[in-house]
Subunit: 346 residues, 4 copies
């Protein structure tokens, strides 16, 4: 093809927009309401200044790290996003294959187009399962059991969605979307779809904690108070996230919330971050402010739309490469050498 | 019709602009002078970051509260705005009907197209009367007596308009406006129209305080000093307001003035806020910073222009719904659970 | 004519631009270099929030004040600007007539198109003379003597122009300008034009102080240090000014420099301000931060270009009216009631 | 020609863009990644406010100073940039000639189109040699020896480029660029091109320190920590630089990093600055914040492209002139009179 070679994830965004149906594009790209938080997710990263360290030996850059003890090639996981069949026929199978190829972890969504059995079964590498609670506990438990049986290595409980955020740009066009939820097919009948009428509480976390021996990750908190509670309730990790600006418009940027969360957990939990990561330098800034890893959502869908599994691998490869570049240029050759002196205090 | 369904008050703004005569549009939309305060009213809200609380039971969201002891469905009142006949033949009758249907309160303006008797008489629910003082005390008193006789439940004294702000955009086109003031028809003859030559002072507040047993609300203050004076002069509530940016250009945004007012009144008065409310999250932010309720002005006129009483109801319904959504997504299921931890200290 | 009535000084700016030759327009409107300070002069005013006081008796607004003991109708003087013949055949005669009609003071520029004798002689009201020093002391002294003989009531020594700022936008077109300096015609021959090669120093201020009994005003300082020196050197007043952004690009805005100057002079001198005043609220903000009066430059030229003396009067009338409006709406009915509580501390 | 006379370096930028091939333009103008740092390099300068001092004798402005003991006409050096043959057939010979004519210093790049022997030999005035280390120490040493033998007066070790920054705008078009590196022709064969696989460390600085008696300048640090290390390792000067925004996108602006570097070196080293200098006032601000001199990169290439050696001289002349103007207008007639009171503390 004559297309210029994409150089970064924004190029993939551009290509995906050319390819996708408008309703699909709107669904993926929209933020809640006026998209103030969506915009802030980028501007907050761009405001941070990096303080490079020079004359460090950066011959070898090692981006590898671990999350919950699992080694990964770079601190960049695939965030749970639903309905991959909207953008690719192979759907989450392609995404899982890419995660495996890139030696990272896919957090498979409850809202996947394919079942967790298909997704986790497609690869030997670890998959985590993102859980939305159902009104009916039996259905929730059934879903957790299926995740366990499929070999998932952690349960990621999303806690920012007691209601779906109003992605108005998408609301105007969503009638054309071909929704299909793989996981719901084989669940026992129950009283309700998630998550209407079934907002989770910390009691549900306790219930889940007793239900499974898998590590539990709380996804979607943004405050020190909630982070401290997470530690008290025996979970293993938290994801600082505003759901890519898709839930509560006006919510603080994840990267702005990160310092208070880090201070609150005081090393007791692993802390990850998503919402707005588009560059290797964003990963560097996140790690500098205390995150152990980040997750990417929309970029994965762009890669998947453009070139299926290969597109996702390319997205992961580009971000890992950019992170390595940023580590070299900032004089931090290993993940553990990244500390708060990397960024300028505001 | 094939028009897409409006999703928010900005959609109504857009529709109203299509419908209204330019002079009417300018009159409603204009701010004073360079519209610096008009713009600031939005930007100050957008700068505030929300700190959502997760894993709270938000199965039931209760937006109800009270103002001056009157129960209302949501902390969103209808601000006094004049000349509803500019946008709808039914004028304030439609607005009052909508307020009643939405279980909230209309603050009927002295400058209404219809008389206070017609407006308050149209509905069983409580109406408050907004008062501009006349140079002639007899006329002022007569107006208060009519409000009392009509069953109004509070007098809202506007104090930011000893002169009309220069809404220059409207000054350029206002000759085409069909002014008609219902209330003035049946008043005793007097020395002047309001409020030229008759700026109110705290002595007038004392006079009004003695004149009526109705609760008095001071509308249009923006400072701690004035809020403290209001408490000293025995009023029941204040409305922090810059008159929608229509009076003194350069005045601080209401939301920026709110903290000092809250600190000054120290719980002795109810504090409401208007000027710039367009989203449920704006209501949430206002309540987080200490307001008991907010008032909306232009959005009501947009709803009225587009679809009469039904349009106003829809505006109120949308904002209440957005507020409920924001309460659910921020983990504050009741009005009293909304405190200052909802917003990020700057 | 069918033109809409101008409502503010920006309308005059627009009209002047239609009328004037491009070279003249560029000369008047340009700022130095990249016009960073020119832009800052407006943005700094717009950032300041006003804290209105309500329920004050503002029936009578009194904008009158004094400068150096001279009563004026409003704290708005006419700044020295040169070459009024560029925009009006009557040149400074029209400007002086307008100043007199508006009961304010014209600061006549050394660079006037007409002589100081013509200008000061045209009106009974006081004129101040703006002085640029010549390399040749005799010429400078001659100029001061002429100002004295013409009845000028103060000498305003401009100190920000040891070189002319590079107004690049104007440099590109200035060849078309019909320069003519009235005052230079009748001066004794000397070694140089002002102010090349003859930058003034504090010693020159001392020399000037001994030379004349007229009050001396230092125009063009922006720091506490220089304000303190001014007080030490026995002058009567200072004008905080960046020369309308026409001298040193990057210089702080006058309104941002004002607080440190006020603190430094500690009441020993009168302090005025220019650079960026376009609205009555700008005057209010300047007085709130400690200025006794402001001066306007470009707006006078716009008025002069559009309608000669009447245009200047209209500019002064509009600004006085806007100031009165702002005083009424902020609850400060007299100049002396304007204090620092009018503005929000940053 | 009928072209208007260029008034500033931006005019040269405009002219160069008309002349150069797109690939060359992109190569010169691009910043890394999203060009956040490139943009910040200008915005950070523009945010700084200057505090002019008035009534200082500025009859004689002296911009001369010294760097490492070498007298120069103004504190403006020519930064090392590579491949001058991209824009002018005479390449670095023209640049060196201009530096000599302007009585300043060219820092000749390792990546020059011509050899260091040609460049340094073309002029009697001092040349400094910018060094990139090779993987092979012998090649590095050979390069230093050639610089010494050519009469270079200092070695400028660039430390911000263990990898090349990804200038994506240029990556899209760089295939058309006619690379040719003069210096590499005659080097002994070795294991690698610079600087892949051969990131320098402080040990290399020590090695270099022992290798040569020439003063060593560390170019490309941005932090207090690294500045302190530089002092410890016996170098003579540092250049605070983000490589014109071409290396690590997100890096702090040099001018924002300068204060902490100045504090850290505590007078032990000379400190220079580059990245974003486009105006004489930028030089003034840099000196006010503690730099001894600045370096310019892209403007030199614009001058070279437009008019060869004469164009570079004109660039240097314009900036020196602007600096003199800024010194006069800020009341700092000599370089040593420029101190931190020139700028407003933020």
């Amino acid at each position: 093809m004559n297309e210029p070679k994409p150089l970064n994830v924004f190029d993939y965004e551009h290509m995906a927009r050319q390819i996708l149906q408008p309703a699909t594009w709107d669904y993926i790209s929209a933020g809640a309401d006026d998209e103030v938080t969506l915009t802030r997710n980028r501007s907050s990263f761009e405001r941070i200044g990096i303080r490079p360290k020079c004359l460090v030996d950066v011959t070898w850059i090692d981006t590898s790290t671990t999350v919950l003890g699992h080694p990964i090639a770079a601190p960049i996981l695939i965030a749970p996003t639903g309905q991959h069949a909207f953008v690719s026929a192979e759907a989450e199978i392609a995404t899982a294959t890419a995660a495996s190829a890139a030696n990272t972890i896919l957090v498979a969504s409850t809202s996947s187009s394919r079942t967790i059995e298909e997704i986790a079964g497609a690869v030997a590498s670890p998959t985590w399962f993102q859980l939305y609670l159902f009104l009916d506990r039996d259905r929730s438990e059934a879903m957790v059991r299926r995740a366990e049986a499929s070999g998932c290595r952690a349960i990621v409980l999303t806690v920012d969605s007691p209601r779906w955020g109003r992605k108005e740009r998408s609301l105007r066009t969503e009638d054309d979307l071909p929704w299909r939820n793989g996981n719901l097919q084989s669940l026992p009948p129950g009283k309700g779809e998630y998550p209407d009428g079934a907002p989770a509480t910390w009691a549900d976390v306790d219930w889940l904690r007793k239900l499974t021996d898998l590590p539990i990750v709380i996804k979607g908190l943004l405050t020190a108070e909630d982070a401290a509670l997470a530690a008290d309730h025996g979970v293993q990790a938290v994801i600082v996230s505003n759901h890519g600006g898709r839930q509560l418009d006006g919510a603080v940027a994840s990267i702005d919330a990160l310092p208070e969360v880090i201070a609150a957990v005081d090393g007791k939990l692993e802390v990850y971050l998503d919402s707005g990561i588009r560059r290797g330098t964003d990963v560097l800034k996140s790690l500098a402010l205390g995150a152990r890893a980040v997750l990417i959502g929309r970029p994965v869908l762009w890669g998947l739309a453009v070139n299926g599994s290969k597109g996702v691998i390319e997205i992961l490869r580009m971000l890992q490469n950019e992170l390595a570049w940023a580590m070299a240029l900032s004089g931090r050759p290993s993940i553990r050498s990244i500390d708060q002196t990397v960024v300028r205090s505001p």
